[in-house]
Symmetry: C2
Subunit: 618 residues, 2 copies
Amino acid sequence: MKKAEIITQRVRNLRLWMFERGLSAYIFPSTDPHMGEYVPDYWKAREWISGFNGSAGTAVVTMTRAALWTDSRYWLAAEEQLAGTPFEVIRCGRNVATPEELIAWIRLVETESYGIGYDAWVNTVSFALDLRWITPNASMVFQGKYNPCDDLWEDRPPLSTAPIEIQPLEFAGQPAEEKLQVIRHEIRRHDADAILITQLDEIAWTLNLRGTDVHCTPVFVAYLLVLPDKAVLYTNLEKVTAEVATYLRQLGVATRNYEEVRSFYADYLQDTELRVQLDPDVLCEALYPDSSQGHVDAPSPIPALRAIKNETEIRSLRNAMLKDGVAMVKFLKWLELPSAMSSQRHSTLPLTEMSVDAKLTALRAQQPLFRGLSFDTIAGYGAHGAIVHYEATPETDIPLEPHGFLLLDSGAQYQDGTTDITRTIALGPLTDEQRRDYTLVLKGHIRLATAVFPDGTSGTQLDVLARYAMWQEHKNYGHGTGHGVGSYLSVHEGPHQFRMNWMPAPLHAGMTITIEPGIYIAGSHGVRIENTMLIVPDDTPSALSREGKLPSGQNGSWLRLEPLTLCPIDTTPIIRELMAPDEIAYLNNYHVRVREALLPLLDDEADRQWLLQATAEY
Amino acid sequence: MKKAEIITQRVRNLRLWMFERGLSAYIFPSTDPHMGEYVPDYWKAREWISGFNGSAGTAVVTMTRAALWTDSRYWLAAEEQLAGTPFEVIRCGRNVATPEELIAWIRLVETESYGIGYDAWVNTVSFALDLRWITPNASMVFQGKYNPCDDLWEDRPPLSTAPIEIQPLEFAGQPAEEKLQVIRHEIRRHDADAILITQLDEIAWTLNLRGTDVHCTPVFVAYLLVLPDKAVLYTNLEKVTAEVATYLRQLGVATRNYEEVRSFYADYLQDTELRVQLDPDVLCEALYPDSSQGHVDAPSPIPALRAIKNETEIRSLRNAMLKDGVAMVKFLKWLELPSAMSSQRHSTLPLTEMSVDAKLTALRAQQPLFRGLSFDTIAGYGAHGAIVHYEATPETDIPLEPHGFLLLDSGAQYQDGTTDITRTIALGPLTDEQRRDYTLVLKGHIRLATAVFPDGTSGTQLDVLARYAMWQEHKNYGHGTGHGVGSYLSVHEGPHQFRMNWMPAPLHAGMTITIEPGIYIAGSHGVRIENTMLIVPDDTPSALSREGKLPSGQNGSWLRLEPLTLCPIDTTPIIRELMAPDEIAYLNNYHVRVREALLPLLDDEADRQWLLQATAEY
């Protein structure tokens, strides 16, 4: 049976199931109970029902219609994947399918609509409240208790039973006991005595544990209830090795089966004076207590705590960056081998987007403590470089040619740190526009990288520095300029960002953040240059003044950005006349830093020569 | 009787009055019923009770204590002015005396506090709601109906009876009929049929009328109720001349006495289907209808409409800028006369901050259509330049000396436009730090002035461009970077600003906005350089590319800033090595523009020579 027919049959079965339960519409979001960036296969119900496998999208099935909302990254892919199925693609913005949009559409297509079903385990409290809030009078009844996957999904992938691992203190830096105490202290701000932690990277960070349950992110599926005198970890008990069991016992953390979280409130809070802190924006509705007594709604304190890396984490991350730099240098040198691009050598096996990804991954895998990629590599050659979230597949993969740009955004999970780097590499001759775009992106990268700013500035207040140069030429990019990076955790970590949209989270010393401006010319090329940076105190005024004394009468502490990523930036595409002297100086200083850090780590003389040349004074 | 004794006696009388009414505290804000920037003397109750005359401050009197909250601009002045009175100064931030702060203090000082009095005519609905909202249980009862001024304020200044004037269409550009129609259309967004306009500059803008009731702002005291088929202007009828009466009649605007606004709801809305739009953030509580039926809370549409100037307003404003530039040039040339600073010439009458203000004002007053200043001149010499809102008084006035900086922030109301300009003028030798600060401020000014940005960018997203250079040296300023400027209206006009704090109001072509970064070194000097700019479409990429063609594949419209202010910027303090080539080019281009605009308007050969020299290529 063809894919489209399978989907059509599933929708037919679903409608029968809905009819039996009095539901006239059912909503499938792209989220799971833990509201993380990557969803384990077990919860990919939206993909199961529709066949659409993009990371963002909401499907709705009614008795007569079926639709899938997705954002511009996936408009074309969704049209292809849903061809022949009952689903129509609805193009929407980055806030995929707001409750308003869903309700408006359901009202449009179902003249008599009453029961709207959704799974309270994979939708947040806020979403469920919004659904009800925006529904005029009582024309719709929302049912969160039914889940068609339990009844209809054959061959549903199981949840992982892979063992949980301890992240040693030599990398984590702060004992879990201490983190639990700090969390208990922080929730007192909201008069809370307990907190239910539902986000997997928050649990991993708190307990200094890691797992392999989620794609590209070393976390494990669990809930963590922190009480005043103990904590309870809800997870598949098969995952708890003897070593982890001992560790948890010493920490005062009891373990219970994952499913038992259903009754966390009844079991530990119901008849106590304790108030538990919950975050309606990330908590699934199924776990939200009925009564407003005994709980307080507030965001988790963990993102702000976790964002400021301790000295051990920073030292470890620097080490991971050295290894990642070595892998990148070996890769870039390999890519630049005259023979690598020659059609002779590759006449039977040309270099393609997927093969360079494989090569780079193999080089990273040779490094100590490598644990996997931190996200799916974006290797976009030529016009593919203009697709911001491009991931080469066997269907789209194209051979590299000795001209134009290869945009390569990649990163790894090492046990001592998470990396994220983008380089745009000239494979041969470039057009004037390509060189100009490269130079504008580099200027933006450097302008932001050289900023000095008061402690507590927000990323929104700084973002324009990366855009100023390209805006002069009416060029721009539609994504944020930077994000935090975890310590052997999520490669995208909040709460701070560089972004035009208002992000009030203040920047402080010890935070990691990427700088990654870009220019994307559809059908032609893409440029992005990304380093991961560390926010550090700026003890002496740097750029303009070299007198080494602080001006009098100034208060407050000042911050600057220090590059953690260690890898040459291709200088061949630069249009020198567009560069300011201080921008060239920054580039040269960065290359000195890269050379001094990586040269002692390279054994192969050819790699060493390549690095010397790639970091030569520009 | 001395001032402090008079205040003490007033507080004593107030407490007796409070006791008779069962009030244990009374709150005096700095606002009036119209919530504008300047308050007519009639409503200066906080100054009457406390003696403190700063523009921002809240006084509270209890049976045993009295306090005045004010922000850092006024901490020292308040201490001086309140010495010997029952008032203590409480230092607070720019959100002077939030309801939380007031309630916390009252609870602290009055162990048994029940009745809290305030005047519902001079406090907003939001403030009154907040007072009640944040008060735990019912320990306090708030009374908005009592006003001690009516009973106790002897010699209270009357409200103005000065005539209202028509702002001719040759300056206003858009007929009031049309504005009323647009307002009626805009309020439909909120399903409103009527709107009560309470802010004086909004009324003046809507009706193309002006007045002289408020310091530095050409408005008149009134309310305007816009109904679907007519409008009602509540104002002192003595102010309505025969000409204005005819004009209003033709507009379909009825006039009623100012006090009758009390019953606006009963008179026009009570028994109708009409819903009136009100803004709780600026509407005084006394005018807020009791029932939630029949009104809708939403901000006025007028600021966003008014912010985008029409072609006539822009043409008029350019003319006003020419006149202001001529006055400034004559002033600067006069100030620079060798004899002006000579101790001989001024041995009996030295130049002082107040005398240069008087000279500049006199030169402006010679210009056609001059109507007054747009704000009190800030003429700060030396250390006074570091006081951001300094206004020289006979007590603080100091003579100018032939060294250091004079910071001069000034502006005028001409019938064809409002101006706002700051120049920092070297009166002789400067220290290295003074020159460096001047250069950093100029660099910031130019970096923001040269920005190209997408339509709809907010001022918060651009603000850092003015700070980047000085942040490198750990210098900063505590005020916003720019504000809108009215068309013969308020010199500070919203909704858009350049400001670090989040200001979501989008920037569009046709808006005016100032650029005014500064550096202030307490006890030493201040630097600020301000031009008023016009936001215009950027039709061709400008700064880096001179090829004159738009890059392909780019959408949306782009904006840039064009200086409206025409006056040389002192180049003598600049440290050339700190300036980038494009910054010097901007300065030279600006000076060419100033020279070409003003030279034909100068008759005096000495003025012409001065201008040629001041705008010579740097």
